[in-house]
Each structure stands twice: as C-alpha cells, then as structure tokens.
C-alpha cells in the first residue's frame, strides 16, 4: 500500500491541531504525510500552531469567509483537488458533521462521524464510533479511499511529533455562491461553562422537584470543587439550567475524575455523555435506576436528605 496523505481541517484551530496529532499517530510510516488546511477567516497564528502539532504542510486558502456549509465544503474541495489525500480528518462537531456530509456527498466519498479511534490496516481503515445512542461502540471498516473521518473532540490526541520544516502552500478560494445566509449569531444563554474540561462534576436529573432546589446541588458542587451538570429534561425542557450544563448525546460529553449523579435515572442518551468518567457516584431513590449499573459508589436514598448531609460532611473536612 502506498503511503497515506491525510488532510486535517477544523474551523477551530485547537481541534485541527488535535486532528494533526491523531493523524501522525495513525500514519507513522516515514513516507506518510499529514497536511492541514486553513480556510478564509481562520485566526492568525494557525499555521504555526498546526506546525507545532506535527503537520508536514499547511495549506492556506485565501478568499472571503462564509459560514455556509456548501461554501466551506467547496473551499475544502479545492484543497482536496490539489492534494489528492487518502484520508480527510474533520472534527465531529455539529458544523464539522455538516461539512463532512456535504463534502462526502459532492465527492461521493465514504464518511464516518462520531469517531473515537482510527486505525489504518491492510484491508482498510477501521474506525471506532459511538453507536446505538452511545450504548455501544461500533467498529466499522471503510472499504475505499479517499474517505472522510470526523473525529469527536476530546478523543485522546498523542503528544506532537515535530515534522521539521513545515511546508507552506497557498491557494485561492473558489468562487462559490452561498446557499444559506446567516443573519444573526447569538451566544447561547450561559454558554460560558466548558464542562468538558471540568475535573469534578455534580449532575442533577429529574429527581430535583423544583428550580429553587438547585441551591442544594450548587452547594454540594462548591464543597467538591465541582461544576454543575444536568440531564436533557432540565436544560432542554424545563430550562432550569442553560445548555452548557447539559451532559449527554446531544449535550456535552465529559470525562472528569469524579462524576456525582444526583437524581439521574440514567437514560442511554445521558450515559453516553458520562461514560468516560473515572469514578462515578450515583444517588437515587430508585434502587433499579440504570445509573446504578454505571456507578462505583451507590447510595439508594432521597437526594433531599443525602445531598445536604454530604455537603456538610465535606465542609466539615
């Protein structure tokens, strides 16, 4: 098999740098080449950052930036046309998956999203991805290349491997008429919390009877030096907490040292968000709640009694 040429792109340079590091590990042979693309609108300093992550070459596309996924896919397609990569690594973010789909559709390429591991093997590229709402991991074989692999943020990226001199290439963005127009961008309410980075999390579920009782949970979180997380109903339905607290399939995926699930039943869509926590504590009145199967320490009891007692015990040192 000839050597891999992997093209990495994310609009977030930090994620693109992770993709570069994952690509260097996936294709370690001397002849393999890892390239990265910077599209119009990329913040300055990207080429250096991608070089430090281990990119052999950085392609800078010059032109007008536009958020339309069709425009982004076409700009990326111009890089693909000039490079002929064997693999295209994208970030499996909401926007990343949309660009992956458009690029895959227009070039008729295989594409996999939600990828947590990628291996280049003799009979094809194998990817591990979340399946069955995060209940399971599917191992899938991509039978032809080029192919698009969209990797979940937070997937472990090895230490950078210096590539020596980083080749700089530039090309002009193709003239593409956007198919969508963005008329407004507003930050999500809250939105400042980066719960993915939290070392300790106290997550509250539907066991909480009313919004005013959140104070109990916040007090416990303070005594643990933890952030407050929540399940889908509390964010998306009740609106008691903003979306940046929401842990689960369509919320955030977290990997803290300590995860305390309070009044959380453990629906499969929630479990996928917390599965990689190191140590899990569950407090629930229902001894049969599915969360208990995922817990290291289980307390069957009423959160309204247990949580204040725990806050007090921790505060008492």
């Amino acid at each position: 098999m000839s050597d891999e040429v992997i093209l990495c792109y994310s609009e977030e340079t930090e994620l693109a740098a992770d993709l570069v590091r994952i690509a260097r590990q996936a294709a370690p042979t001397a002849g393999a080449r890892v390239h990265a693309a910077l599209l119009p609108g990329a913040p300055p300093g990207g080429a250096e950052q991608l070089g430090r992550a281990g990119a052999h070459a950085v392609h800078t596309v010059a032109g007008a930036a536009h958020p339309d996924p069709h425009v982004v896919a076409e700009q990326l397609r111009a890089v693909v046309a000039s490079l002929n990569p064997t693999l295209i690594f994208l970030a499996s973010t909401k926007r990343g998956r949309e660009v992956a789909g458009r690029l895959a559709g227009s070039l008729d390429l295989p594409a996999a999203t939600g990828v947590t591991g990628v291996r280049i093997e003799t009979d094809g590229v194998r990817v591990d991805r979340e399946a069955l709402s995060g209940n399971a991991v599917a191992t899938e074989r991509i039978v032809r290349r080029p192919a698009i692999v969209a990797i979940l943020p937070g997937t472990s990226a090895p230490n950078p491997v210096p590539a020596g001199a980083v080749e700089a290439r530039s090309l002009a963005a193709p003239e593409v008429a956007p198919l969508t127009e963005r008329t407004e961008v507003r930050p999500k309410p809250g939105g400042q919390l980066e719960i993915e980075k939290a070392e300790r999390i106290v997550t509250i579920g539907r066991g909480l009877k009313k919004k005013e009782d959140l104070g109990l949970i916040e007090a416990l979180a303070r005594s643990l030096g933890a952030e407050v997380g929540c399940t889908r109903p509390l964010a998306a339905e009740a609106g008691w907490l903003t979306d940046d607290h929401w842990i689960g399939l369509t919320g955030h995926r977290v990997h803290p040292k300590l995860y305390v699930a309070v009044g959380v039943s453990g629906a499969v869509q929630h479990l996928v968000g917390m599965r990689s926590a190191q140590l899990v504590v569950a407090i629930n009145t229902d001894a049969n709640a599915p969360i208990f199967a995922q817990a290291d320490y289980r307390i069957v009891g009423d959160l309204y009694a247990v949580v204040p007692a725990l806050t007090k015990a921790l505060g008492a040192g």
Binding site: L103, A104, Q294, Y297
Partner: protein, 263 residues
Amino acid sequence: MVEKRRIGVAVKHGIDVTLTRADRASGLVQLAGAPRRTSDFDKNAVEEAVRIREKHGGTVTAISVGGPAAREALRESVAIGADEAVLVTADGWADWDTRAVARLLAAATRTLGGFDLFLVGEGSTDHFSSLVGPRLAAELGAADIAGARRLTVEPEGVVAEKDLEKEVEVVRARYPVVVSVGQEINTPRLPTFLANLKASKKEPKVLGLAELGLAASDLAPSIVVDRVAVPDIPRKQLTLSGASPAEVAERLRDALRSEGVLP
C-alpha cells in the same frame, strides 16, 4: 413563490436501542433481526412537516428507506399526519450505508417530482451519523441547514434557528432546502385511535431500484460494520448505607478521599 409547498420527510425504521442486548461474555450486540422502531428525531421531523402544512397548506410525503418492516415507520408518519407514504426498498437494504441512503433519497426525490422542503432528523437513534441530511442536500444541489431548533417557512424559503455547541445562528435559505431537526423543535403528537386506524389502511407507494434508475452496484457499501459491542467499563458497584444520611455521607466522603478524587 411556491404555490403548493411540497414537503418531503425521511423516516428511518432503525434499531430500537432500548431493546438491544449484548452477549454477556463477548459484549457483542446482535444487530441482525434486532427489534426496530421509528427513529426518535424523525418523528419530530414528521411533526414539524405536518405543522407547516396545517398552517400554510401543501403536502407532506414521508419516505422510508429500508426493509419491509419500515412500513411501520410510514404508518406512524401517516398517523401523525403525513399525506403520502413511500417505501424505498430492495434486496440488500440491511447493508445500505449513509451514502446509499442519501443516494436513494435523492433518487426518490427526483422520481417523485422534487420537494421544496425536505426534513430529516438531526441524527438517527441507532447510528447518529448526522450525514444523511447534508449528503442528500449535496446530491440535490440544495441548501442545507443542520440542527434546526426552530423553523419558519416563508414564500421563497425558510428561516431556521440552528443549534451549535456554543451559539445559535439564524440562517435563511431559499427552496429547495434540506433541514435537519433536533428533538427540541417540537413534541410529536400522539396520534388518536382513529388516526392510527386510518393510517394502518394506507398502503405506501413502493419504489424499487428500477423505478429510481439505480443499480445495486451504485449502492455497494463504502463502509461495513465489523462489530458492535458494549464497552466494558468496570465499575466497583459498591452500595453505601448507614443508619442516617449523615452516616452514609461520611462513608462516601471517606471513600472519595481514599480514591484521591477530592481537591
């Protein structure tokens, strides 16, 4: 201006993730013959399409790509309020990947005379690739908006609130447009007994590869599933109890301290 809005909706009859069971020793999940049901977010897509029709007129066509049992997803869509049901099926359907499904939906769209608005779920409950919507849009040369939490239709196109990780974008597109919707956009209605009865009498139109102008080789898998397994994350599963909440709390505090997870 679109006179009579034509709305297409894709509905997947996917694996019921709440009923899959893993082999205890290997952790492997048996997918062949696993129970199936309509994918969650696809019901939101059907509901949204029906609401648009109720408000603005037009027709709603539900399309399911899959095996014979996918008729159930179509029946459910008609019970929610879809006007027409189309089953796209052929031998080998179980091996169709997202590429094949998008190609089939694009071919069905052309065969059926095109849609102004095509709605899909943001991701399927079993696979959640989120690829079918944008792939379909690329195949059709249409605009696409992924992850809509709110959708407004206008004479010439749509305005959507698009949900991203850290922000919400308001995005406008002219017809034809493919929009993927999340669970937050609406609560699908529970069909009445009568609606269910009526829907069970409606036979879907069946489209095979010949009608779609496709050959089996056009749908050859580009990705094959090797295995699906439930990851084995060992948990201690220790139950802490005590005479009072205070006693249980102290036991937990001591355990957390010895685990070294406290600040």
